[in-house]
Amino acid sequence: MGETEKTSHDLFHSFCVRPDVRFDTQEDGEVVILMLRAHPITQLPWIISGIILIVLLIFANVVFFGFLTPPQILIINLYSVIFIASYLWLNFLLYFFNVGIVTNMKVLDIDFHMVLYKETTEARLDRIEDVTAKMGGYFASIFNFGDVFIQTAGTEANIEFLKVPRPSEVVSIVNKLGES
């Protein structure tokens, strides 16, 4: 278990070993071994969209400058900047709080869909039957990210960690924790 004994925060805190975090359903003596977020490269679409919106706003200012009065320009710019900032903030929140957690007792998947819907799925390590990693596509191969599927026994819900970094390593860690 050498790979999970030392604290580390890799890839913009998307692959954290023994991080200093807690969660609301944490039990006494439960230690967070691994915390996963989506690989940072998968967040590029909303970051690029934000940059494009800023460029469009600058372009619109140049084109429509002569048609509007200064207060109108000020207000339209104010609303636009706030809209873009809100879009970026919302996406950051979704990135930051959608996590997968592996502890010494269980595996958790915390999901916030469009911020307003919260979904927490848990499975105890002794109920895990099968752990699978899937990688597909050029980007996933180049940047080493993929999906990890954790199947549980009986009627317990299965757990999915989507687009997480180093999926093979995650499988290895979960399997080792399950065996110990």
Partner: protein
């Protein structure tokens, strides 16, 4: 800034802009309240060090939303 001005100048912008911005401001205020409340829930679900910064930024968003509702009344 009103219908009389539109009749005399033919300029639609002032007539449309103010009500549109007021409506937008209220919609944004509702959105900001939802985000602020949900950020608090998120911060309680996943407790990280310095998570007050995230809640504080969402609070700033809420304050900005309140200002946005007031701005069209003051400037336009």
């Amino acid at each position: 800034m009103n219908f009389t001005e539109f009749l005399t100048t033919g300029n639609l912008v002032p007539l449309i802009l103010k009500p549109a911005l007021i409506v937008l401001g209220f919609i944004y205020l509702i959105y900001a309240i939802a985000i602020f409340r949900q950020t608090q829930v998120m911060a309680k679900t996943l407790i990280v060090s310095n998570d007050w910064i995230i809640v504080f930024i969402s609070f700033i968003q809420l304050v900005v939303a309140i200002i946005l509702v007031a701005v069209p009344f003051v400037i336009l």
